[in-house]
């Protein structure tokens, strides 16, 4: 994720309704843009922040259109910096892609911090544009292709008396065609594909048959969408038009008139929602979700103040509606924890009192075992939050802080701006919904590693304690009874590899992000030698903890990527990785191993890694990238306490 998350408090993207405005937004209550216009006129430094705030709120077409114009004026005045991150996006589909494409460009830049150059296909010409390797689309060389097929083409055209099997076959066929097109794109130019699925018909026709067979547009498209989700390969991503349309109300998403007049795919406001979503998906292709939910206690997990009201006095559970709402919020947090989100507590309380409900309240859903880090004291929350990140060995920007107290939220925003925050508000029945709509914890898929993560972090804290008691490092490492597995990239591991590549910041020499599809490409490419390492010890299994991508270029074996999970630092994993790198270099007949360090704001911990491991410095580029070399012939295999298979 980019810079933008830092500028914001709470949800950024998504279709989150403005809580003050209520869920239903009415006509004629367009956003007031006066402050923004004044900032523009005065060339105020507050302009960018104001633009972001208005963009997050804007739900209606007229608002976004005006924001686009205001931004263009700001560029003309030099009020906005030119972004350097240029993504090349091709957009094709079964309807007129403009003005939607303008909005996608707008949202990606303002909300996602990603500036795009967009190539737009002709109306309903996407089959030809995607199939023909010589088409202007491929001349453009897109890195991402957005495809929005028209729902008018997603209808059952067979006999009305056909069998269910024939109807399903027709749906499979449509999905197959779309996926074939996507594969062609991927094969021809390696681009990721973001595919819009189909909204459901808002009309009553054909009554009861809507649900009994697939002949109705409604059930046919529903089936197609499910089939698409089930069959899509890793380089295809869904822009969930069905969901967005349902959320806004299918009827309000349809405007047949603008279809007949200018081939617009949706009614004006749904156009905004879909553009927002396309922008969200494309800005987050290589990003990672947040890792930790840090929650306050009093009036966030339960009603009342534990220090004043005591165990019997707090509101929690089925004895009152408010108590039920808090319990429901806890249930959702527990669900997140099962997905691999770590839960931490940050509360101004006496520790002994704060843990009491976790240990003894019968209606508590969350127990101490679910909390990986528990801070209850009277220090500022900003300090505690930094401490939590340190103890978990994670960047503070992986944390989301949730509190019912607006002042605490603002203090954290000010003093730990990297942390994302959610102000829970004062109605506990809305807490779960707010978190569910924040989009901070969205996973593409959930791996077994995610599910075990919470357990591992608990083990890590035990391990830290163990480390404190052992003074002799070698003896300590031996006592861990470590077992490692090193093996070449494996298709089955690809999701986890892509996940690590996407989120490792600290122990990451080059911070080159790659998608799952790109990882799969490496597996098939002879020039690469890429491997992973897993580690287990007597406290538990760490799972996949290191990713290395080597590239053989004549005599040189280049380390394109070397990243590791910070959990296993100082465990001699680096030595084992290097042993393997040199072994592979020898297999390849290379005489030198070439490593590079590309500095970022977060990877300072590995700045000296190569020199420490016996590499000699060879050169530095003007961009500050350091190159190091190691003579393969001189290298001696380093013994470790890890039993490697």
């Amino acid at each position: 994720m980019g810079e933008w998350i830092r500028l914001t408090a709470g949800p950024v993207f998504g279709c989150q309704p403005n809580p003050e405005a209520g869920i239903l937004e009415g006509m004629g209550s367009l956003l007031d843009m006066q402050t923004l216009k004044t900032c523009l006129e005065l060339s105020s430094p507050a302009f960018e922040g104001e633009l972001l705030a208005k963009t997050r709120e804007a739900r209606e077409f007229a608002e976004v259109l005006q924001l686009c114009t205001i931004r263009k004026r700001a560029f003309a005045k030099g009020l906005l910096p030119k972004s350097e991150k240029i993504r090349r996006i091709a957009m094709v589909g079964g309807s007129n892609m403009r003005p939607m494409s303008d909005f996608i460009e707008y949202f990606a830049a303002v909300l996602g911090g990603v500036s795009c150059e967009i190539w737009i296909g002709d109306y309903d010409n996407y089959h030809a544009e995607l199939m023909d390797a010589e088409s202007p689309l491929y001349v453009f060389k897109p890195d991402t292709v957005l495809v929005l097929p028209s729902d008018r083409r997603c209808v059952f055209s067979g006999s009305l008396t056909s069998s269910r099997a024939e109807q399903e076959e027709a749906a499979h066929h449509i999905v197959g065609e779309l996926l074939d097109l996507s594969s062609v794109v991927h094969e021809l130019c390696g681009a990721e594909v973001i595919l819009g699925n189909f909204r459901l018909s808002p009309y009553s026709d054909p009554g009861a048959m809507r649900n009994t067979s697939l002949i109705s547009d409604y059930s046919f498209r529903k089936f197609v969408n499910l089939d698409l989700g089930a069959r899509m390969p890793s380089f295809v991503h869904i822009c969930d038009v069905e969901f967005l349309s349902n959320r806004r109300g299918n009827l309000s998403g349809v405007d047949d008139r603008t279809w007949f007049e200018s081939k617009q795919p949706f009614a004006a406001d749904l156009l905004v929602d879909v553009a927002r979503e396309f922008a969200h998906v494309l800005s987050n292709l290589k990003g990672a979700p947040k890792k930790v939910a840090v929650v306050d206690l009093d009036n966030t997990l339960w009603g009342g103040v534990i220090g004043d009201d005591g165990l019997e006095g707090i509101e929690l559970g089925t004895t009152s509606p408010r108590g039920e709402a808090f319990r429901d919020f806890q249930r959702y947090l527990l669900e997140l924890s099962k997905r691999g989100v770590l839960l931490a507590v940050c509360s101004k309380n006496d520790y002994d009192k704060a843990i009491e409900p976790f240990e003894n309240h019968p209606e508590m859903v969350l127990r101490l075992k679910d909390i990986v880090c528990f801070k209850a004291n009277w220090e500022p929350k900003s300090d505690n939050i930094r401490q939590i990140a340190r103890e978990l060995n994670l960047g503070v920007d992986s944390l989301v802080f949730i509190d019912d107290n607006r002042a605490e939220i603002e203090i954290v925003n000010q003093f730990v701006p990297e942390v994302s925050t959610i102000w829970a508000g004062d109605d506990p029945s809305e807490f779960a919904a707010k978190l569910k709509d924040s989009r901070f914890f969205e996973f593409r898929n959930i791996t077994a590693e995610d599910v075990q993560r919470v357990q591992r972090y608990k083990q890590e804290s035990e391990r830290q304690q163990h480390l404190n008691t052992s003074t002799d490092m070698e003896a300590y490492l031996r006592s861990l009874e470590m077992a490692g597995v090193i093996k070449p990239f494996d298709r089955l591991d690809a999701p986890r590899i892509a996940q690590l590549i996407g989120k490792s910041n600290q122990f990451n020499l080059t911070t080159r992000r790659r998608t799952e599809a790109e990882v799969l490409n490496i597996i098939g490419d002879e020039r690469y030698s890429a491997f992973t390492m897993r580690l287990a010890d007597r406290f538990g299994d760490h799972g996949l903890i290191a990713v290395v991508i080597g590239y053989a270029r004549e005599d040189d074996f280049e380390i394109d990527t070397w990243l590791m999970s910070c959990r296993v630092l100082k465990r001699q994993v680096e030595e084992e990785v290097l042993n393997e790198v040199v072994r592979l270099a020898r297999v390849r007949g290379c005489t030198r191993v070439v490593g590079q360090y590309i500095p970022t704001a977060k990877n300072g911990m590995v700045r000296e890694l190569y020199p420490q491991k016996g590499f000699s410095h060879s050169r530095e580029t003007s961009g500050g990238v350091q190159f190091y070399e190691l003579d393969v012939a001189q290298y001696e295999v380093k013994p470790t306490q890890i039993n490697v298979k």
Partner: protein
């Protein structure tokens, strides 16, 4: 809403759509404004509908020749009173 009020509100819409300052008048048409291409037109009409809370019928807008015609159409579509 009277013609003059409609024109004043249209001026706000135009300010939100076009980068250059376009002074609205009954005689104004797309040919007078460089930015007013078919894309801007789609957006302009959607913004007009949203701003006034009205809905045109299919083909109606295409039949208008200048802003005067559009203003008449808006007045016609506005709820009476």
């Amino acid at each position: 809403m009277q013609q003059q009020e409609v024109l004043a509100k249209l001026q706000e819409v135009f300010d939100g759509v076009f980068l250059q300052k376009v002074a609205v008048s009954r005689e104004l048409s797309a040919e007078d404004v460089e930015e007013w291409d078919s894309l801007a037109h789609v957006s302009l009409i959607l913004a007009v509908e949203q701003t006034f809370g009205i809905r045109f019928r299919v083909g109606e807008v295409e039949a208008t020749k200048n802003l005067g015609d559009l203003t008449d159409l808006i007045v016609k579509r506005l709820p009476q009173g």
